[in-house]
């Protein structure tokens, strides 16, 4: 039995499913440590990425009619500009992937480590970035359930108790991580070099020796130093990899990939609940097709996520990454070769033990009559239900626990783990 099977059983066992008796002991052995060994990373694409040009309903003639300049060509192995076949049937034909993800996410798909969930999102119809992002991060139900000052990952961490080691890889603490539990945040952007040398660090730390802030200050400095070390190690270790990436004509092996690899180092060694956001997806104008604005962003994102997977090493099997965005965009392109704020989007679920290589969740044929308000994708899988389902599997949270994380949400198990 390989590690992957054990992990699945552990997750299954934790969720209260039947565990074959021969494996009970091992599964149990994993059932408790699972909570600590499991890694969860939430990647938030801020700005509302154009899901329909990434997880592409290539079998829909309506897709090509709706996007005269943006549509990606039907899968064709001889055409590098064509979409990549995802080899599954949707109502009106196959799904396909944006070609910018050819070297990064597509291999993971082929290994069965990525699932896409189209028609996912929130019940918020405001189409406002702020309101929708905030409501997603709060994890509150659409009927304005009160959850002031707390985000769902803070509540998850609190619910996990001592097993949780949460962190936000952001400049400020994002809404999703705010709440009762004090969660550290550290930005991985830039050089990550701390402005203080060892002598200055020790001077500053010594100011707090013996005070109630001593552990915080030490942890803060240590975290900053860990980040700086990871960055330095990667900068020297990846010189070759970067050259190779350049040879493949990758759009950017820098930027997000550097950040993502540092993130993996930290999630491998000391954190098990992470959050990061990636901006720039609000493509109202000149979005581009196989090449261009969105393509560049995707290339960067894909390189980052595959770099993250690689850097996690053996722990990738215990890791689940979910990529979300506040909403999708209008299904028809607008008058400025872009798309406007829409509704349903597509979530990505990645991980070494994810039952991937498939399109998960409820689906409809993409046609004018199935659009929400004749404008954008409907939401058939609500984000809270999806995440609650995942958390139930990963952490063995029961209904009452899930209700603390996502008040009033009923988890749905899409069989992703």
């Amino acid at each position: 039995m390989d590690r992957r099977t054990v992990l699945k059983l552990a997750w299954g066992g934790a969720a209260g499913l039947l565990v074959p008796s021969a494996m009970t002991t091992r599964a149990h052995a994993y059932a408790v440590p699972t909570m600590a060994s499991a890694r969860f990373l939430l990647v938030f694409l801020r700005g509302g990425y154009d899901a329909a040009n990434v997880v592409i309903p290539a079998g829909s003639a309506f897709y090509f009619e709706s996007r005269p300049t943006l549509a990606i060509a039907r899968p064709d192995p001889s055409n590098p500009q064509a979409a990549l076949s995802l080899g599954t049937a949707s109502g009106s034909g196959g799904w396909a992937l944006h070609p910018a993800l050819h070297d990064s996410i597509y291999p993971l798909w082929q290994q069965g480590q990525v699932a896409f969930v189209p028609f996912a999102g929130t019940n918020d119809l405001s189409r406002s970035h702020f309101e929708t992002q905030d409501s997603v991060e709060a994890g509150a139900s659409g009927d304005r359930q009160r959850s002031y000052g707390s985000g769902f990952m803070n509540r998850l961490a609190r619910r996990m108790g001592g097993a949780a080691a949460p962190v936000a890889f952001t400049d400020g603490l994002p809404v999703v991580m705010t709440g009762d539990l004090v969660i550290p945040n550290v930005s991985l952007k830039g050089t990550a070099r701390t402005p203080f040398d060892a002598r200055q660090t020790s001077l500053l730390a010594s100011l707090y020796t013996g005070t109630r802030f001593e552990p915080l200050v030490n942890e803060g400095f240590e975290l900053r130093q860990t980040v700086a070390d990871e960055a330095a190690a990667m900068a020297s270790g990846n010189a070759n990899a970067e050259m190779q990436a350049a040879n493949r004509n990758a759009i950017s092996a820098r930027g997000f990939e550097v950040e993502a690899r540092r993130m993996a180092g930290l999630m491998r060694d000391r954190f098990n609940l992470g959050f990061i956001d990636v901006g720039g997806w609000d493509t109202h104008v000149n979005e581009g097709g196989a090449q261009g604005q969105l393509s560049a962003l995707l290339g960067n994102l894909g390189q980052g996520l595959s770099g993250f997977a690689q850097q996690m090493g053996p722990l990738w099997k215990d890791t689940v990454v979910v990529v979300i965005s506040e909403f999708g965009r209008t299904f028809r392109e607008n008058g400025t070769r872009g798309t406007d704020h829409g509704h349903g989007t597509a979530y990505w679920v990645l991980g070494g033990s994810v039952r991937g290589g498939r399109i998960a969740g409820d689906q409809v044929a993409v046609e004018p009559r199935t659009l929400n308000q004749n404008r954008d994708w409907p939401v058939l899988t609500e984000y809270r239900a999806l995440l609650a389902g995942l958390f139930a599997r990963m952490y063995g949270l029961d209904r009452a626990a899930l209700d603390e994380v996502f008040p009033g949400a009923a988890g749905v198990d899409l069989g992703l783990l």
Binding site: V182, N185, G190, L207, T209, L223, G335, T336
Partner: protein, 537 residues
């Protein structure tokens, strides 16, 4: 980003105790302007010095000491200083006029700005598709600039106004009646919200303060009351008005007790209280016409108002249009629970994370006997034994971590004193990085006021980095607003007279020891601003 700390190394260690003449020479050599030309620093124990207790007192009554505050305090003493702070003259002090004059939003009403924003949105909708996006971006940038103006003005006053308690109370009430600038068109109305609804009443009567927020465009938009009408009720604002603004949560520490029915009844009272961004007046039958109220974009529209009687907390409110709102607000503000809720929150901000019942009781008594006169309540609090104990510092009443606004404001006041900064963008960013951006609280509950909300690992280290940015003088605070470098200013001299008068005498042995190990003035500045002596208040 900034690695200049090593650059102009001092030939010798900068001694924090005296040696002012040597320092002055050194400073001249390095070409630093700062305060080198000022009065030589006196030794501690000198007639200019204030006591540790004075310093701690000033640290709470103000956003932190500067030369102006210390001089005034020394001239008139604690009791008169407090009275001055509790009863400041209206309007801005003379020393702010140059900074404030250049800020656009101080010259235009929210009504005009909101109308213009709406007209621009309508114009954009008529544009050909290929021009819409650029126009939208321009409109968005204009709104963001208006928000920056509001932030800048808030900071100018917090940093340089002599009426420091009013500025702290303005921040406090902006937080209590929190409005999120990211929603709808609030970036255009937030400056006036602060200016008309909050600041004039920050040291006034609580009931007037509440009423001013009720009729403010920012609040009406933020909590959706502008959309609430008879038969189409939106309870959002009514609930927060009770739970967050006056009574406290039902069944909570304030002792309040109200039902969903009370919330619904208040929501009915509030129907028709909204906004009208047009120049049109709704057509109404004569009896309702008499009840119509209009002030700028604020509108009470009797046509949208529920005209039946309501019952709130057992009191019947007879149909009377906008007067019902006045009556309901007065009713809420006179509830004992409101006095308790507000008193506790004030004491949490100024005294301790967990103020004791005797202090709250005394403040509640002052609140009720003065009908919610805020200075009366504050005076009782500042003169209480518990406040005195907090200044005396003990295991039972330890100093608390400043919140981000207090940390950033006090540090800038000490470092640059009366040398007004020009570019406030770094300050706005620091507050964001520390998790307390101005006008940036998404939810209506405001930022938390207790220490655990801010005592985190990322926060501490980030503060050290900000202390370094301030202490090494290369944060760009004196650049033009458009980012162009201003005149070279060098780094601040924190070993100045203010330091020797006020901080040095109270400095802990440990901090003194660490300061003595620093190897440049910039490093010395960074350590002082990072020290517990400075980080706590």
């Amino acid at each position: 980003m900034e690695r200049r700390l090593e650059a102009p190394r001092f030939a010798m260690k900068v001694a924090p105790l005296g040696q002012a003449a040597t320092l002055a020479v050194l400073i001249a050599c390095v070409g630093v302007v700062a305060h080198a030309d000022k009065h030589p620093a006196p030794r501690s124990g000198d007639a200019h010095a204030i006591t540790a207790n004075d310093l701690r007192w000033l640290d709470r009554v103000t956003f932190g000491i500067d030369t102006q505050v210390v001089a005034r305090y020394r001239a008139i003493g604690r009791a008169r200083f407090l009275d001055e702070q509790l009863h400041p003259p209206p309007g801005d002090a003379e020393n702010l006029s140059a900074d404030l004059a250049v800020i656009l939003t101080t010259r235009q009403t929210a009504s005009a700005l909101l109308k213009a924003a709406r007209e621009e949105q309508q114009r954009i909708n008529t544009l050909p598709e290929d021009q819409k996006q650029a126009a939208r971006m321009a409109a968005n940038q204009a709104a963001t600039a208006a928000l920056y103006d509001a932030s800048k003005r808030h900071l100018v006053r917090a940093l340089y106004s002599p009426t420091q308690l009013r500025e702290q109370m303005t921040w406090f009430w902006m937080n209590h009646f929190s409005v999120y600038s990211g929603k709808a068109n609030i970036r255009w109305s937030i400056a006036e919200y602060e200016d008309r609804a909050i600041r004039p009443h920050a040291l006034g009567r609580f009931r007037d303060l509440v009423m001013a927020t009720v009729v403010s465009p920012a609040m009406l938009e933020y909590l959706d009351n502008a959309q609430s009408a008879a038969g189409k009720i939106n309870e959002n604002y009514a609930r927060e008005l009770m739970e967050l603004h006056t009574l406290g949560v039902s069944g909570g520490a304030s002792g309040s007790r109200y039902s969903q029915q009370d919330v619904q009844e208040l929501a009915r009272v509030l129907t028709g209280v909204g906004l009208n961004l047009t120049d049109n007046t709704p057509r109404l039958p004569p009896p309702k016409q008499a009840l119509y109220v209009r002030d700028g974009v604020f509108e009470f529209n009797p046509g949208r108002h529920d005209g039946e009687a309501k019952t709130i907390l057992g009191h019947t409110i007879a149909p009377a249009g906008m007067s019902e709102v006045e009556e309901a607000v007065t009713l809420l503000c006179r509830q004992p629970a409101t006095a308790r809720f507000i008193s506790r929150k004030l004491a949490t901000y100024f005294v301790s994370d967990d103020p004791t019942p005797p202090l709250i009781d005394a403040m509640v008594a002052a609140f009720r006997s003065s009908d919610g006169d805020i200075p009366s309540v504050l005076k009782v609090m500042f003169q209480s034994a518990e406040f005195g104990a907090a200044l005396a510092r003990s295991d039972k009443a330890p100093a608390r971590l400043k919140d981000p606004m207090q940390f950033v404001a006090s540090s800038l006041r000490l470092a640059y004193d009366d040398k007004h900064i020009i570019n406030y963008r770094p300050v706005v960013n620091w507050l964001s990085q520390l998790g307390e951006p101005l006008y940036g609280r998404v939810t209506p509950d405001g930022y938390p006021l207790t220490e655990p909300a801010w005592a985190s690992s990322g926060q501490m280290v980030r503060r050290f980095e900000i202390a370094r940015a301030i202490g090494s003088g290369n944060a760009g605070l004196f650049n033009d607003d458009d980012g162009h470098p201003g005149p070279r200013t060098g780094f601040p001299m924190l070993t100045n007279r203010l330091y020797y008068d006020a901080i040095d005498p109270a400095l802990s042995a440990r901090t003194r020891e660490v300061l003595s190990q620093t190897s440049s003035q910039q490093e010395w500045n960074t350590v002082l601003l990072s020290s517990p002596d400075w980080m706590l208040r």
